[in-house]
């Protein structure tokens, strides 16, 4: 008995609801497909942009430093790239008598064109990168990036700054 009563109550509730919704429900045949298409496009867009933002890498190969790997470079084929603690970049080119030209301050914006010009003059140029320990890593990446972008033979190696290098940089303006 109790069960039957419950059923009746449920039915009357349904009836009431149907009556209430009848007028509204008739018109709601909305085609979802265009909206779905747009949302799918948006999704694809966002997914692609996130993929593009993933970090990339800059490959570095250091010389192995073994005896058979030692490369002799002519003194006049050496380009010293010194960077001071303050982040100033100085280029000086080796000369045949083991000396080097006076350091020239190079702006990072002109670095690439300068490198290309110097490599056109001497295609065998080897870059010796002497970075001050107090310099920011950001600048190192910027310089390597410019070297990678320049249309030159990417021949470079890292060398620690020594007493003479500090003197040269100091004299040129720090």
């Amino acid at each position: 008995m109790a069960g039957g009563g419950g059923f009746e109550a449920a039915e009357s509730y349904n009836k009431r609801q149907k009556k209430y919704q009848r007028g509204k429900k008739l018109g709601v045949r909305i085609d979802m497909t265009p909206m779905v298409d747009v949302i799918m496009l948006l999704l694809t867009f966002f997914m692609l942009t996130t993929t593009l933002a993933t970090p990339q890498v800059m490959q570095i190969n250091l010389p192995k430093g073994e005896e058979e790997d030692v490369v002799k470079v002519e003194a006049n084929n050496v380009l010293y790239v010194r960077v001071s603690k303050l982040g100033n970049i100085y280029f000086s080119q080796g000369t045949a008598d083991n000396q080097e030209t006076a350091p020239e301050n190079i702006n990072i914006q002109n670095l690439r064109s300068e490198l290309e010009a110097r490599h056109r003059a001497n295609p065998n140029l080897m870059m010796l990168l002497k970075f001050d320990r107090g310099m920011k890593y950001n600048l190192m990446v910027d310089i390597l990036d410019e070297i990678n972008r320049a249309e030159i033979d990417k021949r470079y190696t890292f060398m620690p700054m020594e007493g003479l290098d500090f003197e040269i940089v100091e004299r040129a303006g720090g």
Partner: protein
């Protein structure tokens, strides 16, 4: 009653399938990003420098040995395999810390934090010899696990504000352990 049913039924004929498709896509998308966030939170976070990098090499997917440089001058050694970590660091969530500047203490030793974040991992403090040994051990452990088939790709994730001196010390150590190929991780610069 029969009449009311027949007038109502044609109106609620909404096909749910496309909606479900979209919801599934959204779900997949958010689940994937959530996974990335979770993995990120157990790492040491740094602000990467930007580069244009014309050869557009992407970060490898697996077998990466990450060396993270913080602005405080610390080097964090981490790999992506739990088994290798367990073998070398003695803990599946172990991480190595090397502070090349012997005149000062690492940021983690001083504050117990990295930047302003606490690190929920077992930290193994390393000196120069220990660091070079760990680099070797990590490679040996992976090779033993995979019958020499796999090898670590070394990537350096440097904070743009860290000093070049740390990078120089790191390169010296890498060279000493015969690791002359490595990669610097950068963000793409729109130029």
């Amino acid at each position: 009653m029969g009449k009311s049913r027949s007038t109502k039924k044609p109106g609620i004929n909404i096909d749910m399938t496309p909606l479900v498709d979209v919801i599934m896509l959204l779900l997949t998308f958010f689940m994937l990003t959530a996974t990335f966030k979770a993995a990120e939170s157990e790492l040491v976070e740094v602000t990467l420098p930007q580069s244009v990098n014309t050869d557009s090499t992407r970060l490898p997917e697996q077998d990466i040995l990450t060396l993270t440089l913080t602005p405080a001058g610390d080097i964090w050694v981490d790999v992506d395999s739990y088994e290798v970590r367990k073998e070398v660091f003695g803990d599946a969530f172990g991480i190595g810390l090397y502070h090349p500047d012997s005149t000062s203490k690492s940021e983690f030793e001083l504050t117990g934090k990295v930047g302003d974040k606490a690190l929920n991992r077992t930290v193994l403090l390393l000196d120069k010899e220990g660091f070079e040994k760990v680099i070797n051990d990590l490679r040996i452990a992976l090779k033993n696990m995979s019958d020499n088939a796999r090898d670590y790709k070394i990537v350096i994730k440097g904070d743009k504000e860290s000093n070049y001196g740390v990078v120089e010390d790191l390169m010296t150590s890498l060279k000493a352990t015969k690791n002359t190929r490595f990669a610097l991780v950068t963000d793409l610069k729109s130029d």
